[in-house]
C-alpha cells in the first residue's frame, strides 16, 4: 500500500466553544476528499492543522511522511493551500507573489503558471488589491497549483467563484487527481459541490466525524 499523503493519529483540538474530538485519518495518493459541515464544525481547523497554521492539542500529524509541525517546511513543500480567509498583499502584483512563491518552492512550474493565468483570465501585472473576490480566489489557486503540490488543501476556496469558474476549477481538480495523482482535500458548505466528484466525503457535525460516500470508497481512505 502506498505511503499515505495525510496521516493523522489521535489528533484533537479544543477551543472554548468547540472541540474536535480525537480522531485518526489516513488519505492515500490520488484522492479527492470532501469535508462538509456547518460553520464551526471543524473543517477549517482540520485543514489549518495539516498546513501547520494551528497546532493540535494532542496526536500526530504527518504529511507525505513529514511530521508536522516538527518538519513543517518540508511538509509544506508538498502542500498547496488556499483558504477563503487568506489574502494576497494588496499593494503587490500577481507577478510579485509568483516571484515570492517561486523563491521558496523549487517545484514551481512556470509553464503551468502561465497557462493557468491565461485560462483563469488573470494578468501578471494586476495589483492584488484591485482583484475582485473571485479573481483573488483564482490567483491563489494559480499560486498553489503552479507549485505542483502532492496535496492540495482547499478551505472554501471555491465559495467566491461564479458558477462557471467554479465548474472550471472543480473540473481542473478532478483532472489533477486522475492525471497527476494529486490528493485534494476540499472543504465546502455545500455537499452538492462534491457530488459525483469526490472519492469520499466526510461530514463534520460539531466536531464529531462521520463518513458517507457519494461515490465508491476505496481502501486508500479510512476513517477509524
Amino acid at each position: 500500500m502506498p505511503e499515505p499523503v495525510v496521516s493523522l493519529l489521535q489528533v484533537s483540538k479544543r477551543y472554548p466553544r468547540f472541540v474536535l474530538d480525537p480522531f485518526d485519518l489516513e488519505v492515500g495518493p490520488n484522492r479527492l476528499v470532501g469535508l462538509v459541515g456547518p460553520n464551526g464544525s471543524g473543517k477549517s481547523t482540520l485543514l489549518r492543522i495539516l498546513v501547520g497554521l494551528v497546532r493540535p492539542d494532542s496526536g500526530q500529524v504527518r504529511i507525505c511522511g513529514h511530521p508536522v509541525p516538527q518538519r513543517q517546511a518540508d511538509a509544506k513543500q508538498e502542500i498547496g493551500f488556499v483558504s477563503e480567509d487568506m489574502r494576497l498583499h494588496a499593494g503587490a502584483t500577481l507577478r510579485w507573489h509568483a516571484r515570492l512563491v517561486r523563491s521558496l518552492c523549487p517545484a514551481w512550474d512556470e509553464n503551468r503558471a502561465n497557462n493557468l493565468a491565461e485560462r483563469l483570465g488573470l494578468s501578471w501585472d494586476q495589483r492584488a488589491g484591485s482583484l475582485s473576490r473571485g479573481q483573488t480566489a483564482k490567483a491563489m489557486l494559480l499560486l498553489a497549483l503552479a507549485r505542483r503540490p502532492r496535496l492540495l488543501l482547499l478551505d472554501e476556496a471555491t465559495a467566491a467563484l461564479d458558477s462557471e469558474a467554479r465548474e472550471d476549477v472543480l473540473g481542473e481538480l478532478g483532472r489533477l487527481v486522475s492525471r497527476e495523482g494529486v490528493t485534494v482535500l476540499l472543504s465546502s458548505h455545500h455537499a452538492a459541490d462534491l457530488a459525483g466528484r469526490a472519492d469520499e466525503v466526510f461530514q463534520l457535525p460539531e466536531g464529531r466525524w462521520e463518513a458517507f460516500a457519494p461515490s465508491p470508497i476505496r481502501s486508500a481512505v479510512s476513517l477509524r
Binding site: L53, R55, D85, R87, L88, L100, S103
Partner: protein
C-alpha cells in the same frame, strides 16, 4: 532555520515597505542636516525631527508588517509557503532592522560626515544611541509578533518611551555614579565598553527570545 528562506521573506518585506522606508530615511537625513547646522535653535529642532521619525517608525512598522498582515490574512498566505514560524519571525526582524537602520543610519552617516565642531554628540555616543534604538525597535516588532495584540504592543511601546524619555533623564542624576557613567560614555572608559557589550547582549537575547516564543505559538490564524 533556513537562512535562504529568511532572506527571501526579509526581501519581500523590504520590497513591500520600500516607499515608507525611503520617506522615513529622507526625513531622518533632513533632521540630521538641520541638527548639524553651525549654531542656533535649529539644531534642537533637527534632533527632535530625527527622534520623531524613529519613534514614528516604531509605531508604523509593527502595525503594517505584523498587525495588518494578521488581520488581512496575508500572514496565513506566507505561512502556507514552505517556511517555519521561526523563519517568518526572523525575516520580519531582519527586514525591520534594515528598515530602522535605513533612516537611523542615514542620520548617523550625515552626522559623522559633518566637521567634528558641528556635531552635537561624539561618535561613540551616536553609535550607542543607534544600537539602543535598534534594540528598542526590534523589541517592539518582537512583542507585536508574539502577542499579536495591538493594545499590549502599544502599551509596552508607550511605557518604554515614557521610561526612556522621562524616567531616566529625571531619576538618573539622583543615582550614585551617574555623572561618572555619563562622562565615560562621552569621553571613553570601561563604562562605555560595558554599555556597548550589554547592548549587543540585549540585542542577541531579544532575537533569541522572540524566535523561541514564536516556536511555541499554537495558532497563526
Amino acid at each position: 532555520m533556513n537562512l535562504r528562506s529568511i532572506l527571501v521573506l526579509a526581501r519581500a518585506d523590504l520590497s513591500l515597505n520600500r516607499t515608507p522606508g525611503l520617506l522615513y530615511a529622507g526625513a531622518a537625513a533632513a533632521g540630521a542636516v538641520i541638527a548639524c547646522t553651525p549654531t542656533g535653535p535649529l539644531r534642537g529642532v533637527g534632533v527632535s525631527l530625527v527622534m520623531c521619525v524613529l519613534i514614528g517608525l516604531c509605531f508604523h512598522l509593527p502595525i503594517v508588517t505584523v498587525f495588518q498582515e494578521v488581520a488581512r490574512g496575508t500572514r496565513a498566505f506566507t505561512l502556507s509557503l514552505p517556511v517555519t514560524p521561526g523563519e517568518y519571525a526572523a525575516g520580519k526582524l531582519a527586514a525591520g532592522a534594515l528598515l530602522f537602520l535605513l533612516p537611523a543610519g542615514a542620520a548617523v552617516l550625515i552626522a559623522l560626515l559633518m566637521p567634528a565642531s558641528r556635531r552635537l554628540f561624539p561618535t561613540p555616543m551616536v553609535l550607542l544611541a543607534l544600537l539602543g534604538g535598534l534594540i528598542f525597535f526590534m523589541q517592539n516588532i518582537g512583542i507585536a509578533l508574539v502577542t499579536e495584540s495591538m493594545g499590549v504592543s502599544m502599551t509596552i511601546l508607550l511605557g518604554q518611551i515614557f521610561v526612556l524619555g522621562n524616567g531616566i533623564p529625571r531619576l538618573g542624576p539622583h543615582l550614585p555614579g551617574w555623572f561618572r557613567f555619563w562622562e565615560e560614555l562621552h569621553t571613553g572608559g570601561p563604562w562605555r565598553e560595558a554599555a556597548f557589550a550589554l547592548l549587543v547582549l540585549e540585542l542577541v537575547l531579544t532575537v533569541a527570545v522572540v524566535l523561541h516564543l514564536m516556536g511555541r505559538k499554537r495558532s497563526f490564524v
